[in-house]
Amino acid sequence: MKFFRYAVIVAVIVVVGVLRRWRRRRDGRSSQPRGRLAREYVSSDVGLVMGRELRERLRSRFYLVGTVVILIVVGAAIIIPVVHHSKNTDETIGVVGGLSPATRTWVMTTARAGAVSVHFVTLPGLADATSKVKSGSINFAVVDGRELLVETQFSANDVSTTASLAHAVAIHLGESNALVAAHLNAQQSAALSHAGPVPIVAVRHGATKGVNATSLIGVILIFMMLSQYNTWTLIGVMEEKSSRVIEVLLSTVRPVRLLAGKVLGIGIAALLQASIVVAFALVLSKIVGSNLLHGTATLEVLSTLVWLVLGYGFYCWVYAAAGSMAERQDQVQSLALPLSLPLIVGYIVSLTAASATGPSLLLKILAYIPLTAPFAMTTMVGFGAVAWWQFALSVAISLASTVALARLATSIYRRAILRTGSRVRLREFRRTR
């Protein structure tokens, strides 16, 4: 896991470094003081477009309502398992004719492990026990340590707390009675009663039984956010085209800079929302005592954020180019469906894999394909089945693909955004200049 920790740190440094280098190359002003460069960047056309996008998104009702809905979903995902596990059930066991302290201790310890509190009630006789079982004031009664009295016979598939406890008590009493009947000495009896299972040794190291819950939540979050914010990019570009404001904007801003400002603005809004959700999840899990922060969860949270950024960075260009080809809402819908297919495939495969005992070959392959890596690699991290170099390789592939895709998308955007009338089709770019 140490390697993986380093991998995440290296990935973040690489992303920041690449972005800074790209920005310096574009501005050609790497010798300028950092503060001045930052100020100029914010007040440049890219900064202005980014600021407008961010401001308008944060003001929108969709953003506020969407954030609240995600917080509710995440809150529920954290609280419900905690509540489920911490739910105490009280069981009252009637005792007729006495019960040894060792047996009482065993019953209480066993029950506590299943979050069940047991109370023993001493009863004078069988009639009284029968009456109390019938009335429901006790769950069952142990009669002379030799039989259990229950209201109705348990069915074979009854997994209720009372049935499970009664079965466990019955087996324990049977074994205890058998030990007594075998006339073993105290040492022999103790050795038998403390017998434990033989150890189970795994031949493959690293892989755990299932995916970590943090990664599972991460995959769901990435899917929700990528779907939401990429649709924003798509609709935002389409609206600028259909309202013709694009002509006013492009009369003073170059297409690539306008597009860069737009996707940056929406991306920051996405990252802000994701950060709010993650912070909320961490704080809430700390308050309610969820295991979200335990073990390797911090790394999985970081990995989720890294892949949210990389996933948005990759898909935003695809959706922006698609938005420039549409002019109406119905055209957007027909474009959005095929674009969302890789997202859905990555999401479904990752969720399906999460319920298995280890990563499948398909998941391992998808973890290196930029279209599905945000989901598949996050799930792989959840399994603890990825080495640092595998993570870094996937990040590198995603970054390289994003750069190539951004160039292609900008070219499509530049040609399509001012074309009005019927929807622009990809094949038209081969014959138009």
Partner: protein, 298 residues
């Protein structure tokens, strides 16, 4: 503020359609220039080309002797034919945003935006969304977006379309005012009467090439002599059809506009008119811009 826009040899083809065909003209600062042409003549494509919004097969656009690039365009103002504003964005924010994209400081953009909105009687609506405004007021906000940064050159595609007479007067006055302050103003319109009132010069294009250009006064005073005659009870100008050297240009509600060839004696025309009935109007007129336009396109 001196300025000269030079459009040199613009050509642009869309498939089989020649939208611009070696189009050249000049626009000088301090003038309001009308950009005229029938539908599909290439006016919008030319305006887009000036702002780099369409690729060119040939030709170039120069401002003060320099090829127009991003730096020059920041100092231009543009009002597209199909109005371009964010419908759901606040008016004040939108104007400040566009002003800043043109290089204004935040304080200047806010101050000038407030000033223009006040001038248009929209001072209290800076926080309203554009979509809540009437068509005329949206047009005013759009014009403000084009003028906010005090551009050296402003190009407006059909700025008078859909406006009531008051709106036309208001926007027309602003265009003239801009030109008087040294701005170079070029706008297209099909409302030739308004163009004639507002413009010092016009550029007429058809099928992507220049057809005629010049000062409105010069164009109006050029060409064949025009004679306006009204004969009581006459609606068809039948009396004028057989007069040698005379062509009937237009008959509108009993008013007949005639084109006279060189050498035609107006006394002969008056005599012919009298034979048609009692003459109630007989006056020489210069060419109207609509006539200049129609004759240029023949």
């Amino acid at each position: 503020m001196a300025g000269l826009l030079e459009v040199q040899g613009l050509s642009r083809r869309f498939g089989a359609l020649k939208a611009l065909d070696d189009l050249s003209f000049e626009v000088r600062a301090g003038e309001v220039v009308g950009f005229l042409g029938p539908n599909g003549a290439g006016k919008t494509t030319t305006m887009r080309a000036i702002f780099g919004l369409t690729d060119l097969d040939a030709g170039r656009v120069r401002w003060n002797g320099v090829d127009v690039g991003a730096a020059q365009r920041r100092r231009f103002g543009y009002m597209p034919e199909e109005r371009g504003l964010y419908p759901g964005m606040r008016i004040g924010d939108q104007l400040v945003y566009i002003g800043r994209l043109h290089g204004m400081s935040l304080a200047d953009a806010q101050r000038d935006s407030d000033s223009w909105l006040e001038r248009f009687g929209l001072a209290g609506r800076a926080n309203d969304k554009v979509e809540s405004l009437s068509h005329g007021n949206q047009q005013r906000v759009q014009l403000t977006a084009a003028l906010l940064h005090s551009p050296e050159l402003v190009i407006l595609d059909e700025p008078l379309a859909g406006l009531d007479p008051t709106g036309i007067d208001e926007i027309g006055a602003i265009l003239v005012e801009q030109a008087r302050t040294g701005c170079c103003v070029l706008f297209s319109s099909h409302q030739l009467d308004q163009v004639e009132d507002l413009c010092e010069s016009v550029i007429i294009i058809d099928h992507g090439h220049l057809v005629d250009t010049g000062r409105v006064d010069d164009l109006a005073n050029s060409g064949a002599r025009r004679l306006v005659v009204r004969v009581e009870g006459d609606r068809s100008a039948a009396w004028a059809r057989d007069v040698p050297g005379v062509t009937v240009s237009e008959v509108t509600g009993g008013e007949v506009r005639l084109l006279l060839d060189d050498g035609v004696d107006t006394d002969d025309v008056l005599e012919a008119a009298r034979r048609g009935g009692r003459v109630t109007e007989f006056v020489m007129r210069r060419r109207r811009l609509s006539e200049v336009f129609r004759e240029a396109l023949k």
